[in-house]
Each structure stands twice: as C-alpha cells, then as structure tokens.
C-alpha cells in the first residue's frame, strides 16, 4: 500500500499578513511555518500504517520555500519520501488540482488529508482532490483498518452530533482524518536535523501539467478584502482584582440559576 499525506504549512503566529495580489491567498510576513494540526494527525496515522504493515508513505506539501520545513518534519517523523509543490496557490480548486495530480503521479492508492486548515478553514481540498481523481471520499474519519483483501479500508467516521458511521471503502480513496485519530508523535531535534540533509523533490505546477494559464482557470473565487471580525455581540470585559472578579462571577451565576 502506498499512502500519500497532504501536509499544509501554516504560519505559527497570525502576526503580519496581507492579501496576496489578485486575492488568491493570504501572504504572511512571519518566517516560521508549522504543520497544520489536523494534517499532523493524518501524517501520524499514515506513519502508523508504515510501521504496522510496511505501507510506503509520501508526504506532499504545497507552498514556497517556507513550507520546506513541513517536509523536513514529515521526513523526521518517518515518511519514505516527500514532495513540495512550489506554488503560492491558495484557492481550493487550484490546490486540489495540483495535489490530485501529485498523488496520481506518485502512484498512491490511499490519500490522507486533515479535516481543516487553520488558515483557510474551508475543509474543501480533500473532497475536491477525490473528485478530481474520481476516487471515493470520506470526511471526518476517526479510525482506519485495512480490509481483509487489502483492496479496501474499513473506516469509522463522524456524522456530527454524536453519530458515528462504519463504512467499507474501496481503494484508491481519499480520507479526511479527524483530529485525535491517533496519538501525535514527537520528532526529536536530532532526527529533524538529519532530515534536513535529505534532498527534497520540488515540482512546479507546470511540471505537474498545470501551466499558469491553465491553473488560472481554476481560480473560481477571489478574496476581495480582509477585515477585523464584525462582532455581533461583544462580551462585557471584567476588570478588577481576582477576588473582585470572583465575587462578581459567583453573583451572576447565582442570579442565573
């Protein structure tokens, strides 16, 4: 089995950011990128399959040089190989087309993604990747077992409001794994340093068959403006000594019950 894991780099701190030209993405001045949390669960789940049944694992990230860190982390955690798609694409369609093509090129028969990125918060890329490949897609997967024939996976997934569903899904397929699917592993600094010595495969969109003018046709939305949240109802912020605050809160609780 060959598992591809899509790993997104996101800014560690949402400090200085602005709208990228053309409204295609947010651009960040912060230098430090970290692995998106829900993708880290996908990565660790894939590595679990490597340890358990010897699955081959490829990590794929999309971004500029700042996302190279994500690839090093994936290698330090134990993936077999890693690919960075050198692109600043941000829209779900564009990103999904590029990732889908990379997954296909790598010959993976299972692709794992996280449920949501902390920056775009859209939960769309996994579904669009699956659609572009014509593969089944399951969202919010909380456990994965390999089917007896090795040609399918048996998953448990969330349907919301405490409902769970068991499904048998033929491979190849795309699964969006829920946070908490497995314990997160820690990559010690020494392993991360060693990972930096490995050569990373980097492909640009054109090498994946998407020259700029083709990729542009997949830009189906545009961020026009970024603004502070318009707060519909704002909390009364309490100030005072801890004792004063505590007395006030206990009084409000008493009134409310």
């Amino acid at each position: 089995m060959h598992v591809a894991v899509c790993c997104k780099g996101i800014p560690e701190e949402a400090g200085n950011f602005s709208l990228a030209p053309g409204g295609t993405n947010l651009s960040h001045e912060t230098a430090s990128f970290i692995l998106n949390e829900s993708d880290e669960y996908a990565l660790d789940e894939a590595i679990r399959w490597k340890k358990k049944i010897g699955a081959r694992v490829t990590a794929i990230t999309l971004g500029g040089l700042e996302s190279q860190e994500i690839v090093y982390l994936a290698l330090a955690k134990g993936v077999d190989d890693a690919l960075r798609i050198d692109s600043s694409a941000g829209g779900p369609w564009e990103v999904a087309r590029l990732l889908g093509k990379a997954i296909e090129t790598k010959g993976a028969d299972l692709a794992l993604v996280g449920v949501q990125s902390a920056d775009h918060m859209a939960s769309l890329v996994g579904g669009l990747v699956a659609a572009s490949l014509g593969w089944p897609f399951i969202f919010a997967v909380t456990s994965i077992e390999i089917g007896a024939d090795g040609l399918s996976v048996i998953v448990q997934r969330e349907l919301g409001e405490g409902r769970l569903q068991r499904l048998e899904v033929e491979l190849p397929s795309v699964l969006a794994v829920q946070t908490g699917i497995c314990p997160l592993t820690y990559a010690p600094p020494a392993r991360r340093l060693r990972a930096r010595q490995k050569t990373i495969e980097v492909l640009d969109p054109e090498q994946l068959g998407f020259p700029e003018e083709v990729l542009k046709s997949y830009r189906k939305e545009r961020i026009e403006e970024i603004m502070p949240p318009v707060v519909p109802q704002s909390a009364v912020m309490l100030e005072g000594s801890p004792q004063e605050l505590a007395i006030f809160i206990v009084e409000r609780i008493r009134e409310a019950t």
Partner: protein, 336 residues
C-alpha cells in the same frame, strides 16, 4: 439556469438538522434579491413525519428523492440523488449548512458542475457586481469578503446565518417535486451502519457547565476545573482538543462533533472559541469566558469575559464559590 436558490435540507433520518428554517430564510433573502425563489432538496427514505416538517419550511418547492436505499446516509447514493436534483432544478446558488455531510458532498457536486465553492461562510450578499460571502480566516482572527469568479451554480456552505431584512415569504405550503434515484452502476462504499456514541453522563442535561479547553495547559491542571465544578455544583465538559488528547472522555465534548448544550450557565475556561465549539454552546443563557488571550473569539459569544491566567484565577473563583455556598447552606439550615 434559473435564478433560484437550492437549499439542502440535511436530516438524520428522523428530523431536519440544524437551524434549517433560518437557512431557508437566508435562501429566500438571496433568492428575492436575484429574482428567483427557494427550492428545498430532501434526500433519504422520506417518511410522513420528515416530509411534514419540511412542508412547514418557507420554500416555494421541495425536490424530493425518496428511496428505501437512502434510509441511512451513503455518500455515493446521496451524491447521485443531489446530482439529479441539480439537473432538474438548475439553481443559481446551492446552500448547505457547513457540516460533516456537506464537507463530503458539496465539493464533489461543485467539481461535477465545474463550479466555485466557498464554505464556512457567515453571510451571503447579492451585490450589483455579483455574489459575495463573508467567511473567517486564520483561526477566526479575521474575516474575508470573497467573490465568485467562475460561472454559477455557486456552492455555499453557511456556518451561521445572519439577516439584513425580513423577506415576505410564500405562505403557501411548498409544492413537492418527486425525482427518482439513479443508482450509480457500481458502488465503491458499503455502509456498515450508523450508531450513536454511548453516554455515561449526558452533559446536555446539565444546568451548569464548566468547560475546559487547551488553555488549561497541563493535564494535572484539570483538578482545578474539577474543584471549581464541585464548588458550583456544575458538570465538567470540554472542547475538542481535550477529548483528542484523551484527558476527558469524548462524551464530554461540546461542539459540532460532540454535544449541543444549552445550560443556564456555561463557563468556558481556556477555550479559544472556534466556530465548531461555539455551535454547540452559543445558546446558553449565561456565558462567561475566562481566557488569557484577549483576542480569543470566545469573547464574541460570551456575555462576560475575563482575561486572566486560569491556573491562578480559578482557585480564587472556587474559594469564593465555596464561601458563597457555605453562606447559602447556613441560611438554609437556619430557615430549616
């Protein structure tokens, strides 16, 4: 292509889910601005009860694909049914609630239509320049105004629905348009059944909830939360990361993937307040948020907010609650 708005009426087989009536109202507002009307789309093994509930919605029409094979949700069959509805209704906009099911179905439908899709939206507006949505970015620290570039249908998943004006809706019950299910020639997903999580204690029945999030720091600090809950006679609940870490059982989790609660008092301790959590507690009568980050989105739904170090402050709150309880008990015993 019509100028109509198709609204997906999500349900769990028994009842419509989420605030569907408001989603339909939002659909009406958008449809009126476009010059069209709202069509509901209902997919499942639709019984009388569910149909009666749907008929109360202020849609002009409801497109129904009902088949015994749709009794339980199956992604490929539900998608196929929605594809038939899309073909039969050719809407300008397709509205979903932002949910697990829409995260699975909507991208596949948008892909098939070669259409734009924007999810997790807070609002939709029809402008002279086109359709725009407002949605959060960067852990909800900012909002973005997003326009659609391609051609319709436009797929939009809304996480909550705000209104600008009351649209006089059609008072007639919606007409029903039945559409047959086209079974895909080969199914690649087999349903092994839907279950509900077993629950040792039902937090949705609690009158007072102390909910703990990642801001608590260490697992050992949970003791501080338990002490406070004891002092206030409250039930302990948590946000997703705490359940993911295994610090508290998953049945204590509040939010889209956990329970929806509506207690008289909800104290959010170290919970940042992302929409997935807020959706499960926003209707609580009194919400007090305690967090060390003054920018935490939880302060947008809370009635009262305190920016403090939890580990230092909560024991003071516990002691104050104990004293108040002591006084309360004293009075009661005197009266007795």
């Amino acid at each position: 292509m019509s100028l109509n708005v198709l609204v997906y009426l999500e349900h769990d087989g028994r009842r419509l889910q989420g605030d569907i009536a408001r989603l339909v109202s939002k659909g009406n507002e958008v449809a009126q601005a476009l010059g069209g009307f709202t069509v509901g789309s209902l997919v499942g093994d639709i019984g009388e009860e569910l149909l009666a509930e749907a008929r109360k919605l202020k849609c002009k029409e409801i497109a129904v694909v009902s088949d015994p094979g749709l009794r339980e949700y199956q992604p490929e069959l539900y998608r196929s049914a929605l594809e038939s509805i899309l073909e039969a209704t050719s809407p300008y906009i397709v509205l979903f609630r932002h949910s697990y099911v829409s995260a699975e179905l909507a991208p596949a439908l948008a892909y098939r239509c070669n259409a734009p899709i924007v999810s997790n939206c807070l609002d939709v507006e029809v402008k002279d320049s086109g359709i725009e949505v407002i949605r959060p970015f960067l852990r909800e620290l900012c909002w973005g105004r997003v326009s659609f570039q391609g051609s319709p249908p436009y797929f939009i998943a809304l996480q909550r629905f705000s209104f600008h004006k009351d649209v006089p809706a059609n008072e007639e019950p919606p007409s029903i348009k039945e559409i047959g299910l086209k079974r895909p020639s080969k199914l690649r997903i087999r349903n092994g059944g839907i279950t509900r999580r077993s629950e040792s204690e039902d937090i949705s029945k609690a009158e007072k909830i102390i909910a703990v999030g990642r801001g608590i720091g260490e697992k050992s600090n949970l003791k501080i939360i338990e002490d406070l809950a004891d002092a206030l006679g409250a039930t302990v609940a948590c946000s997703r990361p705490i359940a993911d870490l295994g610090w508290l059982p998953v049945e204590r989790q509040v939010g889209i993937s956990g329970k929806t609660v509506c207690p008289k008092v909800y104290i959010a301790c170290g919970i940042s307040g992302e929409s997935q959590h807020v959706a499960g507690m926003k209707d609580s009568s009194l919400i007090i948020a305690i967090n060390s980050d003054p920018k935490a989105p939880i302060f947008r739904v809370a009635h009262y907010g305190v920016v403090v170090d939890l580990v230092r402050f909560l024991p003071v709150l516990t002691a104050t609650a104990m004293q108040a309880k002591g006084r309360g008990q004293g009075t009661e015993s005197k009266e007795a």
